[in-house]
Symmetry: C2
């Protein structure tokens, strides 16, 4: 624990050099977001105002604004007079996240009878790079490409707000993936299903694609709930 904290502080000190443009609070938030999603700050960790503020060389007030930003992205939770913590998802969180995914992703596919060329290209790219990463055994990258695929599915609905909703939702889910000890076992079985969904979309069989996606998400949810209590 002490070792981890020391390395964390060291890494943050390097990040400090990158602080150059835009609003300080947002840049700080971007750095912390990166560190959280890559797993440097594990779920449940408390983020001290004092240590992180001095490590990044920003004042407490500025850091608190960054904390607010990330709290509203649900990556951090703020407990009054206790500080901020990296979010730890509960089982009901996972259930809810997949409920939203089923509803939104399936509806996005349903109403995409004639998907745009860019949307199709994004879907193909995501499937392709997921398969490439799998061949090279980069399982974290498989997970990332997988998320891009589902983000692209939502983009079929052509709604900026839905895109943002989906981004935030996937960022939350990533917190859960971080706590998985076997990324291969989780991501690999779903690879071929993405390919199948894409083919159904390309052939215009949106109903079939929706059915397949629905069962995909149901299975993934059970898989995740079971593996991670």
């Amino acid at each position: 624990m002490i070792d981890g904290a020391a390395r964390a502080t060291e890494r943050l000190a390097e990040d400090r050099a990158l602080l150059g443009r835009t609003s300080t609070a947002e840049r700080v938030a971007a750095i912390l977001r990166e560190r959280i999603t890559e797993g440097m700050f594990a779920p449940g960790t408390r983020l001290s105002e004092e240590s992180i503020g001095s490590a990044l060389g920003v004042s407490r007030n500025t850091l608190r604004e960054a904390f607010r930003l990330l709290s509203h992205e649900r990556l951090l939770v703020h407990e009054l007079n206790r500080g901020v913590f990296v979010r730890r998802l509960t089982e009901s969180d996972v259930v809810d996240l997949y409920r939203v995914r089923r509803l939104v992703e399936c509806a996005a596919i349903r109403q995409a009878a004639k998907p745009s060329a860019e949307a199709l290209a994004a879907l193909r790219e995501a499937v392709g790079s997921a398969e490439l990463a799998a061949r090279e055994q980069r399982w974290e990258d498989v997970g990332t490409a997988n998320m891009r695929f589902h983000q692209a599915i939502v983009r079929l609905a052509a709604s900026p707000r839905l895109d943002e909703t989906m981004s935030r939702l996937l960022a939350e889910l990533r917190l859960c993936f971080l706590e998985m000890n076997n990324p291969r076992a989780f991501h690999e079985p779903y690879l071929w299903r993405n390919r199948d969904i894409l083919q159904l979309i390309e052939t215009g069989d949106t109903e079939g694609a929706e059915r397949l996606l629905d069962s995909y998400l149901t299975d993934a949810e059970h898989h995740l709930v079971q593996a991670h209590p």
Copy 2:
């Protein structure tokens, strides 16, 4: 404008007495949210840190935290080094909001083959109080009850995150309603449609309800876009 600002400051001074519990920033945000949705701060208005801070008797740091909260609810927009403004919706915002509404609300109805008793009660309550408000010519209240009806539709999906998404979406739409000069003309024609949708849900005809809701939302969107450039 000066008169309005003066009255606004006066009203905020009264609000100051209410500041007692929980987190100061959140209480300030709650007050401002109320004032915005009731129309005291019109869309486009700039909210000065100095004047509002002193009117409410809170420091600028605290006020800035409240501004962040409301910015992430999309009620305010933050422009770097220029301050925060009450959001003003563009036409493409309205189009996007209704796109999300169609997708989410219709999907929520679709998958609600057996709605819970509470959900049905919420739907009936909203329709009832909308009709009551209409009989008494309280058109703003009609609009509010209308929103409760559609919020209750989303609640059929039984997802906290979806509920929150819908709340934020409706709060945004309220900004648009505020700029309408004839609330009766906008809200009245949709009253009977809500009643019809409710009846179809009660009889288990989710497909019919979904179709009716879809056309409802499409019409409302055109109505709104046309009335408000």
